[in-house]
């Protein structure tokens, strides 16, 4: 007998094995190779039902009113409750939804907001240098001014960063338009693209914007 008896099971083993391996590959791709894995789409429930859509969108409060360290620090801070109370001691001052905020401002107990946007610890991203040099908040955070509950709009993968770093001219805008998330060069898309190309190149040249692609730009 050339083939021992167990070889009868060989075809089945191969089929089952191939199916398992294939399944693992499919699962792996589905889990790891989608934006979901890079947190895009993440939208946790926050302790206070704060709506950016109302505050930033409808009321037009500038991003920097609350996130006031964004131009000075690597970190775009969350406002202290005292900042909220600047308005809310007049408006909706007895609203039950704001009970936590009032408590926080009075007793100096922090509000446990859930972090949405996050880069890995080995990435030293700095907000100030981006927003001060014509990079709009919306480039990374999406249209926050249209979100009720903040959602992780874009994938923060390394290639996402590099797309811009390789070609800053395509993304740069006037410094005073950084927090104006809906701003465009023109309402005409073709025109806007053309103006972006011309002006973007001009900004990159005039402001000496570097196209930083070496490791030391982000990793230390």
């Amino acid at each position: 007998m050339i083939f021992p008896k167990w070889t009868n099971w060989l075809p089945l083993t191969l089929v089952v094995g191939a199916a398992l391996a294939g399944g693992a590959v499919v699962t792996g791709v589905a889990v790891y190779c989608t934006p979901k894995y890079t947190r895009a789409g993440y939208q946790p429930v926050q302790p206070v039902p704060f709506s950016h859509k109302i505050h930033a969108g409808q009321l037009g409060v500038d991003c920097r009113y609350c996130h006031n360290s964004v131009e000075k620090s690597w970190f775009a801070n969350l406002p202290g409750a005292s900042t909220c109370m600047n308005c809310h001691n007049q408006i909706l001052k007895d609203d039950s939804r704001l009970a936590i905020v009032r408590d926080s401002a009075t007793n100096n107990t922090p509000i446990p907001w859930v972090q949405v946007h996050k880069v890995p610890d080995y990435v030293y991203f700095n907000h100030s240098v981006h927003v001060r040099r014509g990079m709009s908040c919306g480039k990374c955070h999406g249209r926050i001014d249209q979100m009720d509950e903040v959602r992780h709009a874009k994938s923060f993968s390394m290639s996402f960063c590099l797309d811009c770093h390789r070609n800053p001219a395509a993304n740069i805008r006037p410094v005073d338009k950084v927090t104006d998330l809906g701003w465009q060069w023109s309402t005409n898309a073709v025109e806007a693209e053309k103006m972006q190309e011309v002006n973007g190149k001009k900004f990159v040249h005039d402001w000496k914007v570097e196209s930083l692609q070496s490791c030391s730009a982000c990793h230390r």
């Binding site: 360290s69 000075k72 620090s73 972090q115 240098v129 402001w207 490791c215 030391s216 990793h219």
Partner: protein, 1088 residues
Amino acid sequence: MKNNLNNSSSPAAGRRYWRSLDELADTPEFKDWLHREFPVGASEMVEDGTSRRHFLKIMSASFAFAGVAVLGSGCRRPEEKLEPFGQQPENYTFGEAQYFATAMPTRTGAIPLVVKSYEGRPIKVEGNALFPGSNGGTDRYAQASILDLYDPDRARRFTHDGKTISREDALSFLDTLSKKFAANSGEGLAFLAESSTSPSRARLQKIIVDKFPKSQWFTYDAIDSGIHQRAATQAFGSGVRPVFHFDKAKVILSLDCDFLGGEDDAHNHIRKFAAGRKAGEGMSRLYAVESLFTLTGANADHRLRVAASMVGKIAAFISTWAASRGAEVPAPNRDFESQWAFNCANDLLKFGKDALVVAGQRQPIEVHLLAHAMNVALGAIGNTVTLIPATENPSADLKNFEASARNALIILGGNPTYNSPFLLGGLKEITKGVATTIVRLGYYEDETAEQSDWNFPAAHYLESWGDAATSDGTLVPIQPLIQPLFGGMTELEFLARIAGWIETNPHEIVRETFFPPAISGNLLELEESWKKFLFNGFLMDSAPRPINVQFEAIPPMLDSRIQPAKSVTPSAQNLEIIFYRDAKMDDGRFANNGWMQELPDPVTKMTWDNAVLVSRKTARELGVANGDIVEITLNGRSVKGPIWTQPGMADYSLGLALGYGRERAGRVGTGVGFNAYKIFSGKYIETGATIRKTGETHVIACTQHHWAMEGRPAVREANLAEFIKLPNFAEEMHGKEAQPIKSLYPNPLDEAKKTALHQWGMSIDLNACVGCGTCVIACQSENNIPIVGKDQVSRGREMHWMRIDRYFTADPAKENPADKFKADEDQQFAEWIDDVQAVNQPMMCQMCEAAPCESVCPVNATVHDQEGLNVMAYNRCIGTRYCSNNCPYKVRRFNYLDFNKRPLTELKGTFYSTTLTHKTDGEWDLLRWWKDPNSGMRSEDEWDLIKLSKNPDVTVRMRGVMEKCTYCTQRIEHAKISQKAKAGGSDNVRLTEAAGTIPKTACQQACPAGAIVFGDISDPTSAVSKLKSLPQNYSVLGDLLTKPRTTYLARVRNPNPLMPDYREWPHSFEEYEQLNGNPFEHAKKGNG
């Protein structure tokens, strides 16, 4: 790796620099060791009997675990909270560091500091550059002191009879104590304190003495630096303290005075000394008479090696000749020492008021008086030495100590049980029979705490309000950076409570000293002056002016007090012992500081140990070799320690570093080294010791074996006269370069350079560097560098990103060619090592433009950025270590055992447990890791504190990753980002020296000598560019065409041609010449 490290054609003509006696031995083991990428054992598994097969089994199991874990962590998204302030504080930007001025108190002064605080945590100590005269440099102790703040072993609780009690109970005990002694005027009450320059403490001391008139206050320091003031006071008849101006002196004579190393305030001396030693005409000359080989001796132009007890005799010779104004000429047959002393005296006379004589802290007061007499005779007072009025805090005579503390003894800081056993051997013994209560305020629960009835935890100076005066008398504030982590108390609060004061808040006490209640004036202005005092970190113009005082004591002193015949020459049967302040432990207070334990001693390069330092001759006569444990007996008491043969030591002298052998230091310091205090009786130099070999041996972890650069002109030196003739001598010593072939692959940096904003470079002045090691600790603090423990150091796994190489060089004529290069153990006792010259060279990543490490990295983890930095991407590194293998400077460090997560208790062992077998806080580590991947194997108390101490701008590297000096890339990036954020929509993005925006590296900022200069070399006007264009600029191993960005300025010595030990060229050059021929002749032939 078997390349020929020798660039000479004749292997027998081998090396010229050598770094240790063992290296000199040239044993096959050493050869083999040298040729390895890392030292023996560094790349092997730990010695726990794990075979390779077993290892693979374990690893495959853990990979399986890891696979599951990765899958798991990929699926879950840990929810993280961001918790902002409830009430936003004003002027606080989250994420930006804040800086506060404060000061670190020392025994006779204080170091003005600016401390970086991040999110309320102090993380880095820097010198206060605003302080008049300061360059922002600090010393090792100040740099390392921040780790003490986060020491998990520091005292955290109030205890009574060893039991934890509440703070309230402890404080009410102080009230009772205060009331009790107020009733009996302090009968039987004694205080034992360390010296302090705090005006507030002096005020409280006075109040206490007034309130308890019968109490006694004793001031005692194990390392007594007050002798300078006492000697000057005695010599000049009024309360004065000398301030030495090494920058103004043209000739300096050090009488066993290690002013660059062991003396208090060394960082100031180093700064001034370096300022007076700029290579070129007018640089100062240093004569050193000493027995230990100290940093001062290493930097001296002429060093006389004599026993410490004979220094007084030499000083008397010199002063006699100086007094006779050179009239007496020594006979030609005079011995070497007399010739030396005579010519030194003549040189001092030649420079007159520009000369300076200093006597060392360990020398008896007579030698200090002689030094003052000489300074007076030379006219140096008022020029190179100034005297400022100073009063010593009153202290009772220590002889009365035992009798005084019959009722209660209050110990402020210090550790007398450990460091003054002759004084307080057993406190309980002394006070037996009488019910003495011992109350102690201490930073650790140490040896003294064990003997005390009540223990109060002390606050760190970074947690305290206080004040102090620097060595020149300027008043400086001590401001807290953080609330006491464990409720510690400051000395001021403690004393105020004992004094029964209502006001016990140290902040108020300090303010009250600053503004006495009687003061009149505009309150608003006073408040502004207080704020300015805190903001600046010093009180402008508060230093007392130098005064003119009459010298009182010449005639009696020269006649009677110094009797050269009085000193007995030491011999093998009558050995001399020198007790010296350790460069790292100080008097033992830094014993539990891992950074200090692991810092290689500046001279011996030993870590985690002290040793009995002996000369070659002494070792031979006593029949001992390195590592032999001997028993030293002095005055009937004995101690055991290992022998270390130190080149340049005086014969029959034993050098014993104080501060080791702690019994209750903590997890790091307990049991490290041996305790020399056991035979110490308050005198730093004693004769009459004997030695007995015990037959045991001890392994000493010494980094000086590591990375020897065989036979290459790493450090280049010339004497001043030759340097003036041939200023570019260093360049001539450049080895023969390989013929450049046009590269097939152009260096990408050449293209990237064209558009980059800056090009970073560094210049290190070997003439300024004294080798103190402050930069090494500063780098460790800035860059989150872990400690690895003694066993790992002995395997060559230390993690320091920068090191200071110390080479000894010797006179080739004294070397005996017959036995020079044989593999003979006896060669470590070769005669020519007796008188050596030493050179120091800071060595870190040279940022080669054509970096050999980059071309061998298989994963592109180390590459260049456009500004010329050789950067490491830790996340890419897979740990092949090829880069380290290919680095000619051996400056890359590999994290073998996840040293950041390793528990302190495992620092001393040879076995490193894994998460598979280890339990932390009673829980299996794998389980802990599963629950929280960020948990280390360290227990909670360690882990919480160690996290606080880390610099958040620098990645904490994990196991299996290569790391190295980055030129402090985080500081560069911070500076660049700040400038760009400031520029906004403009092109003002370049950092310039004119605008003061160029960052300083941590080593540069800490260096008291200003030896390290970093900057933009694409700017021809920058300081670093100017330094690099000096003729003495050279690259180490530049002949390998690595094009290092770090270059060195050659060292220039300034010897006196009339001295008996004068040589036309330094030994290092002579050795170079012997091997390679005269470089200048090569140059003539066009062969250079």
